[in-house]
């Protein structure tokens, strides 16, 4: 391909979509790791107990909520 096409609008769009996707994947991976450590305390079983899966869901949602709070706190310091 023509080298100029590497920076074509079409490719730029592709890059930013992939970047977005990678960021989402990274966030999910990070939260899974954190929440796994908090919520899955025993040996992994054949299926999650309802308290384990609730804990995982809650953990992810509270993490997001906490992020908002921390951002607000920082903003109020400026």
């Amino acid at each position: 391909m023509d080298l100029s096409e590497i920076n074509s609008p079409d490719m730029q769009k592709f890059y930013s979509e992939e970047q977005q996707r990678a960021m989402v994947n990274e966030m999910v991976a990070k939260l899974t790791s954190e929440c796994w450590d908090k919520c899955i305390t025993g040996t992994p079983g054949n299926k999650f107990s309802s308290s384990e899966s609730n804990c995982l869901s809650n953990c992810a949602q509270r993490y997001v909520e906490m992020t908002m709070l921390i951002m607000k706190r920082f903003q109020s310091m400026q």
Binding site: M1, V28, T32, P44, N46, F48, L56, S57, A60
Partner: protein, 88 residues
Amino acid sequence: MDSFSNHSSTPSSRQLSAHDLKNQLKSQLALEYAQQFLETVRGKCFEKCITKPGSSLSGSESSCISRCVDRYIEATGIISKALFSGQQ
């Protein structure tokens, strides 16, 4: 579909279409993701399942590892749902 598709009708072994470049990047990213995922799961399951390393992997350790891998994949799904499906 896009303006580049015309280029594929004049193939040249040294030319890379935008389509090919996208596919290459995509598979590179997927490989990267898979490697990182493997690395994480390995760490998590080693911690959970191999608590006292013996002279060989016992049957119960192996089955713990299978369950651990399955649960870790499931956990990834639960987290992603909790973040993006906006329930409660």
